[in-house]
């Protein structure tokens, strides 16, 4: 996993209550779960499809279950985790909308991070240079990218509204994960990486806020 992703792990772990149960979808080499275990006494599992990452997870002492997220999460019971986390994976899913709902079926809260396709640099790439956008957060060419469902912050928040998902926290960072006033002022234009914490609209009142 990319070392550049570590700053978002810090933001995520600040959102996670100590001692909670976490399911990490597309957990990579298990760095986040290991970090959460060591700093927040978190328990849980990582789901991963890539054998090289699974091997690293075992070396990191992570409970990793080889899973193709596109085949669904029916092995997991409803409400069996405090948080279901998915970093930099949503845009590579066949059915990101269904997966978001699955996250909130299994967990009380969801946390996702994704590259904001509305970022000015990507708009510039397409509008002025006439090429499919590439950036630090989106380094692939159009023909070999795993990212088949890219979205902007506006798109994501619209989907949340349509599916009765309430956003609890939002953090926009630039592509070096620095917190910038520009990103706070014009998130969809200046934020390169979006980090969200959310829950079902009907669930917060019932169970209270976990974090």
């Amino acid at each position: 996993m990319n070392l550049e992703l570590r700053p978002e792990f810090t933001i995520i772990s600040d959102w996670i209550a100590p001692g909670s149960r976490v399911l990490d979808l597309g957990c990579g080499d298990g760095t986040l779960l290991r970090h959460l275990r060591e700093t927040r006494e978190v328990t849980g599992y990582g789901l991963e499809i890539d054998p090289a990452n699974i091997l690293q997870c075992v070396k990191n002492g992570i409970n990793v279950i080889q899973t193709d997220l596109d085949e669904g999460l029916q092995d997991f019971d409803a409400d069996s985790f405090d948080y279901v986390v998915m970093t930099q994976t949503l845009q590579a899913m066949h059915y990101p909308d269904r997966l978001l709902e699955e996250m909130l079926r299994i967990g009380r809260q969801g946390i996702v991070t994704f590259p904001n396709f509305g970022h000015w640099r990507l708009r510039y790439h397409l509008a002025l240079r006439g090429h499919m956008p590439m950036s630090r957060a989106l380094p692939h060419s159009w023909y070999n990218t795993p990212n088949i469902h890219l979205c902007t912050i506006n798109d994501f928040e619209q989907l949340c509204r349509e599916r009765s998902i309430r956003v609890l926290d939002r953090n926009l960072a630039d592509d070096r994960y620095r917190d910038r006033w520009t990103a706070r002022l014009w998130p969809n234009l200046m934020g390169a990486i979006a980090i969200y914490r959310f829950e079902h609209e009907h669930s917060g009142a019932k169970r209270g806020n976990a974090a």
Binding site: R21, T43, Y45, P51, I54, L55, C57, V58, K59, G61, I62, N63, V64, I65, Q66, D75, F76, D77, S80
Partner: protein, 381 residues
Amino acid sequence: MSKEFPADSIGLVSPRTLKLDEPLELDGGQVLPGFELVYETYGTLNTDRSNAVLVEHALSGHHHAAGYHAGERKPGWWETCIGPGKPIDTNRFFVVCSNNLGGCHGSSGPQSINPESGRIYGADFPIVTVNDWVRSQARLADALGIDTWAAVVGGSLGGMQALQWSIMYPKRLRHAVVIAAAPKLSAQNIAFNEVARQAIITDPEFHDGHYLEHDTIPRQGLALARMLGHITYLSDDAMGAKFGRELREGRFNFNYEVEFQVESYLRHQGQSFVDRFDANTYLLMTKALDYFDPAANFDNDLSAALAGVEASYLVVSFTSDWRFPSSRSREIVRALLDGDKDVVYSEIEAHHGHDAFLMPIDEYLQLFSAYMDRVAREVGA
């Protein structure tokens, strides 16, 4: 004779026999007045006796899991995974493997003498279950002074025993490694076993299981059973890659002799099996497989059966295994997840079919090694 062993082999090994005089009450209701288990050990038991690993064998396996017997050219059946620097590293672990009760490689079984009659047991040897095996192995652990296994490890029927160990003796193992297994057989699995048994039982030389007293063996039936079994151990792809439609003489002879290479291979597998395996043991082992179902005592709820386990698990399946496909391993994983148990699950890409668990597949060996390294560090080995 002088023989150089490969550097990553444990080298020369020899079996030992443990005689246990305490009666063993079996699931089937019968009582064995006493029994013998033949076993091998590799590596050294550390001073706090924490580094012992129990290796469980599959249907046609035995206690000779690794290293070489004097004068033999072939190593033990899991030489790929047991030895210095291998996944079950004999530099770190004390490895124990015994021949299952009812086996035909030295442990008490159908070829032993029945103390009550003074005759060879034959078909009179009681059918034993996976639970019975685990109980008998617990006695072996007692005799060896091993209170807690660092891990109980097995593939196929061996994996089922590892799973059952964790259910029956939750405090006596820290890890269970369950490879290419299933939580119970499917109807199709049982059907294959039944055809194999019928092949043996209907052989005119079977003599109701007392063939040894008639100075014969049901050669044809046992060979057929093995041929059938062997087909289920390989994948269509593996067979295709190995034999395709290749003809021995390059043309059809329009008769029923061996023509295709795959026929020749299967007949050879069948015939060579007859020389090293006992038909009654084959019957018994397939029955133990059929009966295995730890969820049965828990309203068919595997999660409930595994609720009390304390071990951590490594569960491994192989993509081309159609005998115990990945979906069967996932049943085990799902039940463990229900109970918040520690589990790692991986489905290894392999074209070998069920037999993949015996093969040197890089991804598999690396994962297995990484997991066993975790086990070793935990127990200070």
